[in-house]
Symmetry: C2
Subunit: 241 residues, 2 copies
DNA sequence: TTCTATTAACGAACAGCGTTCGTGTCAAGC
DNA sequence: GCTTGACACGAACGCTGTTCGTTAATAGAA
């Protein structure tokens, strides 16, 4: 079976009459399955980051050569789609509660964020993904349902889902980049907050009055304070006045 | 002079007593300068996209080999910083007007967006950039000034600048990816809006009630409607009630 | 003017990347 | 028992960013 056909088959709604994972024995002690590839890939990403996920590295983790992967996956891009699909599939979504839609939106976005951050850098793949994957649509549907239940107009709700997901992915991507740098960067190029604050304060106050004056605010934010702030921003902007 | 020293020198505030671009002749008819490298790189990106900007391609455009570039640039990452710096330098920022802060924010963000989109894919480099570049700080300062003039509290203003810039970069990155796909993708994998609408509508209504019902809204949006919407969202969330 | 130290430019190479081709090897169906 | 088809895989291709060692040309000193 052509891997392109595999991909096409995957995009169909799940067909219950398909035979379940046949476990025939091949030359290997156990044949490689797509699920196994996804699991291994996520393992590599979790421990070494998305940048480290190469076809060769993944093949090595499966004790085989890179060519073997192409029997299960069309592309690296296709693999990316599979990974994001898996991540989305693991998310469980609340049943929309009209009275608590703001809390629910915040909750789901936080869950997506943490899911992304478990696999550093993977949000880059999320940005580039086709909006046709079933699991992705499921998450979209979940968020959309919450907003609609909250009384948001359909058009606003649809675009807001888009904006929220885009922001979450971008936030995680940026954070992963920063973390990766601070992890395995030999020399400078990476700055902790104190250093950054000092730099801002040391700028010429004539040309950068606000930056020097509010250096503290610019560098403030423990944990996900910035994330929470932006979510509040969008939710507030969305809520009918 | 070591290219790392070059980089360090670049990060200093501009020193007016530095001698201006000496145009000594080397073996080449004209020596390569950093500005020339940046110009050529931007040219490559503008016509072929950021993905096509490799050190070899860039060197080729300068009629030399890839090794020659490393006399002017530490890294590809360093080159990225230079490119974003140049883009920021070309932005002109309005003088903050307390009465029109919302318009001004929208205006500057739109300018940044268009600047990014002129060089497709470059926003990826923007996401990864160190917040120490002078031109980047200049843009930050400009946005911060507008928000402060508008009466936004310093902490909210500082974080809002962050959120806005992050969203703009992510929006442009996503758009560039989609455009690149629709440009040089042989077969499917790219979907126009009609196709997308049809797919949404064709989903099982039992499991995706909102998606099928509001497929039109989900796929709506000419030009930068989504961009404008999200900016409004954030600005509305920011404005004191 | 002549000599030397510095510096940019460059050719060649390295390790690694995604991907493809051809081949080998196994299990199932007639 | 033989054919068929799917899977695994070694080897290779054309890329990538980056480094090394060398060459050529200039700037400043003598």
């Amino acid at each position: 079976m052509n891997p392109r056909e595999r991909r096409a088959a995957r995009q169909q709604p799940p067909n219950p009459e398909a035979e379940p994972a046949d476990t025939r024995r091949r030359r290997r002690t156990a044949p490689i399955t797509v699920e196994q590839v996804i699991d291994t890939a996520l393992g590599v990403i979790a421990t070494e980051g998305y940048e480290a996920l190469t076809m060769r590295r993944l093949a090595g983790a499966l004790d085989t050569g890179p060519a073997s992967l192409y029997a299960h996956v069309v592309n690296k891009a296709d693999l990316d789609d599979l990974l994001i699909g898996r991540l989305c599939a693991e998310l469980d979504l609340p049943r929309p509660d009209p009275a608590a839609w703001q809390e629910q939106i915040r909750d789901v976005c936080t869950r997506i964020r943490d899911q992304y951050l478990k696999y550093p850098g993977i949000s880059r793949a999320a940005l580039a993904m086709a909006p046709t994957d079933l699991e992705t649509i499921r998450v979209n549907e979940g968020l959309l349902g919450i907003l609609l239940a909250g009384g948001i107009a359909p058009q606003a709700a649809a675009w807001a889902v888009d904006a929220l997901l885009l922001y979450v992915a971008a936030y995680c991507l940026e954070l992963s980049i920063v973390r990766e740098r601070s992890a395995h960067e030999d020399d400078a190029w990476v700055l902790d907050r104190d250093e950054l604050l000092r730099r801002f304060a040391a700028l010429p106050a004539a040309t950068f009055p606000h930056t020097t004056r509010h250096a503290a605010e610019l560098t403030a934010g423990e944990g996900h304070d910035r994330f929470d702030f932006t979510l509040t921003l969008m939710i507030n902007g969305l809520a009918p006045r």
